[in-house]
Symmetry: C2
Subunit: 214 residues, 2 copies
């Protein structure tokens, strides 16, 4: 099965501004992409296409065996064009979920529904498997995981929800880095954060609260 990984480097992850410089955020985005590609390469996925959106040629993406498609439009337009020509099942998976495991990807692939959605926090869609991609159209932003399930029903497609914590952790805000540092010991992204001096800090109180500091 083929995976499409949308990726935006330029100005990536602006909500991490408080802790990371622009250069560091772009580097982190690249490390997270690397983690997602590693998980994909260890799963049943056998073809990967990176959909580079938001402008800017990305030299580091020229890696073996990976196709890169450039599209400067927004995520929905770029993805809908990309899937409109796919006559085989496709897994759309976000580039900012570095904790994702090959096992979890395989579980999605082994299910039977036409549309399988793996939610992120706040209603996002962090991964979505489409059996008939050219008959579907995506709509990210807002509570997209529910929108995608509703769209499947409208299209008379069967659908299901994949239940994965590690897929749900997309790295957008500083508090998400806490998850990456706790669970990501073997990821490129967490190692990079350690290298530039980020670490966990436990504020002892009646209930200990864990934060990330630099």
């Amino acid at each position: 099965m083929k995976a499409i990984v949308p990726f935006k480097r330029a100005g990536a992850k602006s909500r991490l501004k408080r802790l990371l410089t622009l250069e560091e955020r772009e580097k982190l985005a690249l490390m997270m992409l690397k983690d997602v590609l590693t998980a994909l390469s260890r799963s049943m996925i056998d073809r990967i296409e990176i959909l580079a959106t938001g402008g800017g040629f990305v030299e580091e993406l020229k890696v073996r065996d990976i196709e890169v498609r450039y599209d400067d439009r927004d995520l929905n337009d770029a993805l809908n064009t990309a899937i409109s020509v796919q006559d085989q099942p496709v897994l759309i998976i976000m580039a900012d979920i570095p904790l994702v495991t090959p096992e979890s990807i395989n579980e999605m692939i082994n299910r039977n529904e036409d549309v399988i959605v793996s939610p992120g926090r706040r209603g996002g869609t962090n991964a979505m498997l489409l059996r008939k991609p050219s008959l579907f159209s995506v709509s990210y932003y807002g509570i997209s995981c529910i929108a995608h399930l509703e769209r499947a029903l409208l299209c008379n497609m069967s659908c299901g929800v994949h239940d994965s914590f590690f897929m749900s952790v997309d790295i957008d805000e500083v508090e998400d880095l806490v998850e990456l540092l706790i669970h990501g010991k073997n990821t490129h992204s967490a190692r990079y954060l350690n290298d530039i001096g980020l670490r966990l800090h436990a504020n002892k109180g009646s209930k200990t609260r864990v934060d990330v500091v630099r």
Copy 2:
């Protein structure tokens, strides 16, 4: 297999103060417990013990087929006493994870490791299966999911991590209610929140952000 569900009603969920009165928070805590008990009763779990901590007799807990143990000490002391006398495997599962599914509980039960941890956000342990409970001791608070895995290794027990988004969502803060309202359509807890007027609100921006309002 037996499940132990720690439950604290008195003064429950103080971090939801901004949106809910004390009475509403205690009611919500009870509804969430009900959701967890429902999931357990539909899983391979065949015995349930509620461990009522933090004082106060809870009339509503007198339900058929469920044992209730009262212990006024803190969570760790109460749980460690409870598991010290268990000679059969036990699942410890929190009462504030109303999105938990029977399928996810069964997946934990069907694994082989001695200790299986299901993480919550910020390093919590939202469910933990212990094959040899009397040889283990729990330590909640802080980054307990890592502490529990390390303790397993120290005790020469095999261990693993169970990867479930719906188990990871413990309802502590207002933003957690967003998850409950998005995914909890069939839960007692989300219906209760709807009944008292809570609803999702999408703030449109460059990226839509979803919040809960009253």
